[in-house]
Symmetry: C2
Subunit: 289 residues, 2 copies
Amino acid sequence: MQSKSESEIGKRKISGHQNQELEPNPGCGPGRLTIVSLGPGDPQYLAPRARTALERAEVIVGYKTYMDLIEPELLVKKETISTGMMKEITRCQMAIDRACQGKNTAVVSSGDAGIYGMAGLVLELLAEQNLMDHVKVEVIPGISSLSAAAALLGAPLMHDFAVISLSDLMTPWEDIRSRLEAAARADFVLVIYNPRSNKRDWQLEKAREIVLKFRKDDTPVGMIKNAMREGQAVKITTLSKLDVTDADMLSILVMGNSKTRILGKKMVTPRGYIEKRAAVTNVATNPKG
Amino acid sequence: MQSKSESEIGKRKISGHQNQELEPNPGCGPGRLTIVSLGPGDPQYLAPRARTALERAEVIVGYKTYMDLIEPELLVKKETISTGMMKEITRCQMAIDRACQGKNTAVVSSGDAGIYGMAGLVLELLAEQNLMDHVKVEVIPGISSLSAAAALLGAPLMHDFAVISLSDLMTPWEDIRSRLEAAARADFVLVIYNPRSNKRDWQLEKAREIVLKFRKDDTPVGMIKNAMREGQAVKITTLSKLDVTDADMLSILVMGNSKTRILGKKMVTPRGYIEKRAAVTNVATNPKG
């Protein structure tokens, strides 16, 4: 591993096939696997490169809810493989198998596939099966849920922020708790993924309690459901007034830092330009101040 | 402010003009101001909605380097206003003035305008001048630099991460230092913006030292310059081998957490699917284990 730790990767094209002598998986042909970020879901926010990748794909693989975000015309005459939740490994493995059969295969994720998405699992499975140099892989980034949520709220992410998933299915709650506390203490804006589901109904209330140890009751909180797609809901409230039962698996929350304010109907974390101007003006008017 | 703290904001359309009786700024017409995220710069990653906003704009305002990312055909027959760095307030004010004159005005930011971008300053200036209900504002999100960087590196952001700017122009170094330490201690993946410039040449080395207090020498670090545009460079190295002088103002760094690995030529932070499968398999084989 160490020998590969300082590797320069070429421009734009991901290299493949250099190590065909490895014969990693007999019968595995020269496949192409593209991990495609769908963005929020509305075609208005689908990057042209992602659209092209979907157009060119022979096989499209994804979680059912994400497949439904794809325009039907992009799925015509294609093999589509969709499975429910908790079938992530099966789904990614099927995509790898198709790519190995020589099919141009796309794995789709909503938002950005690189943020809590499928990009990592695909790469892990490829590495485990010694296929990294055999399958051409490209990750196409997209507009993440956090970017979509921030845009709808105003501008809450103008300063340092921490992104935390409250799902303790694969992460011990103690790790999540300590991250919430560290981020709240150091005055990061917090972006919360997976705040609540039917089975995980206490984590968000706990998170609010942790953050309230370090922030005022009236710290702005934004909650977004289905950003930029059917059923969109945008709410701006405060830490103390937040109704945690409002959140679900598809919600994203943004908890402001000590400087975040509500301006009109928008949530804004100042970057400091105006404060700096005020300071400069102040020095100019009161040269001794 | 409190009375507005729990406000439900309508679907997709930003409301405007409800408060025309306020007469906030005599002579200010019904303007439209769109804050447009350009994404990494390559038109392949420009969202259709952002493109449409640029096509419809009569005035386009932006930092010169960002204006150069826009396809020339989108600028034809338009008023364009570009200024250098450190003129952020002037630039945003000019955009507001044009919108108030009734012009359809776009302010552009590279990456996502909602992450360390211009969205916040525009909203702050509008609020300061009591224009929030008078100018129609929309923030169009884009593919952020962090998403573009992550996609080129592989999948380093599959788990919780903290985003920190090392620029101490408007933030005291002590705040930045304490955020670096908190994020490193709590095992967040770190995304570093503004790592180094000619004038700010010591912060990245200091950041590395702080992170090394909590992480191993061989923790993977990815450095990206000009993600998905002219001059792109992608490097994967480790915390101890990182050459900080390689970084510049346009670089983004991703420092792995304790679980981040280099797989082939990719940097991956496992989400936990494979570990969980292994645990399940283990329990199944050794029911008493």
